[in-house]
Subunit: 444 residues, 2 copies
């Protein structure tokens, strides 16, 4: 056993929250008046507003606008302590978390580690596909897209050029649909101006969905309209197709078709990101932790899980709740309340998911929304849904300054048909692996 | 010889500009109506507004606000071509530039490669000191500062903690003075709120200047006031001291004093960044290229140099012009005009530097300015100078959107005493080398 990380001993019981996503932040906030020491551990020093990551990836928003440093969020919360660290494992017998900065003792452990991309055990796909789970991923995607065009300028061979200009998105859920919409928007309004030397009729955007419907889980109207919008914007939607393999150049579909691209975005599924040290009996399929209706991990008295990592298996929800922001926020909030009840000897309140519906945007002026308000359902597609989508995301993003920045960026983009600064960050892209691959491909 | 890079043959003579700093961009702009093909080569896809880099480094501005992609700047210039590439060397006999994307032929070669940090041949300093020449450097500095505090939280040993909390800036020119001022501002208004677990009386900011005056080259009043302001803000200014050595931990001064710090900023001098293939007789001390009064590199008929890399040695300027934005902008503009005159068979106009003065800001409400307007000199220190400084920088920054962003950030910071998002970008800082050094130091 190593040394203990240095955290003031305040004489209070200590709640350790692993992960500062929607669930972890909401939980920490809801404990602001608790007579406890709240320690949040994250490997980034900021919270990320994940629903808008795809806009950072497509240069629509600046990275800084959708993140909020934890220390800023909790500036006024006296019982809050942040530690920038990576968690290695937990020891539930000794009640310690082993981290990159040392051991951290806990009285209550709150696991809010979220989800990670699920490549369904395909190592080749994992190696070549691009996922979008973090700001770093989003910036990497932005770099890749911009660099691909710079590189395309140098190629005479049509297949080689197309391999850089064409994009394949796997997964027709909200992320895949929104990314496809944003790319088609850029193809129409932004890229042709920046790269007048390229012919953007050559740029293809493919969206591959294994089932018959886009936005599975939303209404039939929403699915149908999303498909209609995407096709209107020139996205090639492949329904009922699965990707069999991808070697970084050729996408092979189960139906035999091949698509050539150097850029495949993986939005086809996520899996829980559990931590070592939790008893295997509590880890369900999909790597999620089985919790009771109070979000307590089955088999423990003082270990809880919330958000994407938690699977609250009930008759209504045999798979647990959807891995989305809403259940995470609601579970985080309730768990804070329940922890205080627990310590006061009061009965715990079971979690009751209040589903407010779902929505997705597909380029300028177009979105689909299935809303549930006061137990009534409202369906909307088109301009009004798009407006609602913007409003909901604006009010949800953390921090007034971020709201302002996002709004200014959106208004700017709307009226100028231009997006934010399209800069390639970092030096490595000058010697991007793509270049070497191209050379070897050409030689073959 | 390798292959040629792919650039359309427009049938026009080709001007190749290497480097998109102030000089290169201004030159390309001034050639917008020329019957020439203008090719700009840069290793970034954006222009950087260098005078505000220190604000990015100190989290005062977002990186995106002070850069502008070349393709956006030249969106409407038909004869302009951008290529993202690294220049390896030039062959002036064959009239080609050898780059990472292939050979590029030129009729006129314009060298605008700027300057790089001068460590005066001290490899240990070069290894351990942090320079600030690019957006990547600035972000690296921001990361380092924020990470240092996260790390300090874990240390009991006072010397170890101070090595992370203290900063040494070498060089009392505008960059050093402005960086010291910005750091003292953060120490006063921002860091103590974010890191309430740390005692910021422990944080020392040292500014080391080899000569007796700060802001050498400015008026005696400006130098004196800059010193007064910095000392008022608690910066420890060391005049007439030189750094003898720095091993990443101990700064040894020539007078024998030692300062412990893991973060030393190098702002003590720059040197030209010449390219291979230029005849050595034209490379002067300080690695600058000797040019005549038309910015033509001595010994060539069709090779020119502008900005920091150019040394126009005259009786008035035995060292060439100061390595600043103003001479670069003015030389770039005049060279564009002269190139058109040259091709029209007209006499070239000699460069006549119009010195508008200099200024530096030292934290909120404080700046020093020596202005020259219509041949008259105006000196100002304090709030008015600070206001002028802001105005001049706002109007100088490229792009309306950037102006707007910078202004919003400044106004926000002014009234809230808060700065932009303080995020640590990238993953590497979790396993920052600092950590390893600390461990080894502790063991010693």
């Amino acid at each position: 056993m190593g040394n203990y990380a240095k955290i003031a001993n305040t004489g209070k019981q200590r709640v350790v929250i692993i992960g500062g996503g929607f669930a972890g932040v909401e939980l920490a906030k809801s404990l602001q008046d608790a007579d406890l020491q709240v320690v949040l551990i994250d490997k980034q020093n900021y919270h990320t507003f994940q629903p808008l990551l795809y806009q950072v990836a497509t240069a629509g928003l600046e990275a800084d606008s959708i993140i909020h440093p934890f220390r800023k969020i909790f500036l006024k919360q006296k019982n809050f302590y942040f530690r920038l660290a990576e968690v290695e494992r937990v020891d539930t017998a000794l009640q310690v978390v082993e981290t990159s900065i040392g051991l951290i003792k806990y009285d209550y452990l709150m696991i809010a580690t979220g989800a990670t991309s699920n490549f369904f055990g395909d190592p080749q796909m994992e190696k070549h596909a691009i996922a979008m789970k973090s700001i770093d991923d989003a910036l990497e995607i932005r770099n890749t897209i911009l660099y691909n065009f710079e590189k395309s300028l140098q190629l005479d061979d049509e297949e080689q050029r197309n391999s850089l200009m064409d994009y394949v998105i796997v997964g027709g859920g909200p992320t895949g649909v929104e990314l496809a919409g944003a790319l088609s928007e850029l193809r129409k309004h932004v890229f042709p101006k920046d790269y007048s030397e390229l012919d953007f009729r050559e740029m293809d955007i493919h969206l591959i969905q294994s089932g018959p419907l886009l936005l599975k889980g939303m209404s039939a109207e929403a699915s149908a309209k999303a498909l209609e919008y995407l096709e209107r914007f020139g996205v090639k939607v492949w329904l009922n197709k699965r990707v069999k393999s991808y070697d970084g150049y050729t996408v092979l579909l189960d139906s035999g078709e091949k698509i050539i691209t150097r850029t495949l975005f993986w939005a086809a599924g996520v899996t829980g990101a559990p931590i070592a040290g939790i008893r295997p009996e509590s880890v369900l399929r999909g790597n999620r932790l089985q919790v009771d209706v109070f979000n307590r991990v089955v088999g423990y008295s003082n270990v809880f899980a919330i958000g994407d990592i938690a699977a609250m298996v009930t008759e209504e929800n045999p798979q647990g709740h959807p891995m989305l922001a809403q259940p995470a926020l609601q579970q985080g909030k309730l768990l804070g309340k329940n922890l205080m009840r627990l310590r006061a000897g009061e009965a715990l309140l079971p979690f009751d998911y209040n589903d407010n519906g779902a929505m997705a945007t597909i380029g300028r002026n177009h979105a689909v929304a299935d809303l549930k308000l006061f137990k009534k359902e409202y369906k909307s597609q088109g301009f009004f849904a798009w407006f609602i989508w913007m409003f909901v995301h604006l009010v949800s993003i953390v921090g007034f300054r971020n709201k302002l920045e996002v709004m200014v960026d959106w208004v700017w983009a709307y009226f100028t048909y231009d997006t934010g600064n399209r800069l390639i960050v970092g030096k490595k892209h000058l010697n991007h692996p793509v270049e070497k691959t191209i050379i070897s491909k050409t030689v073959e």
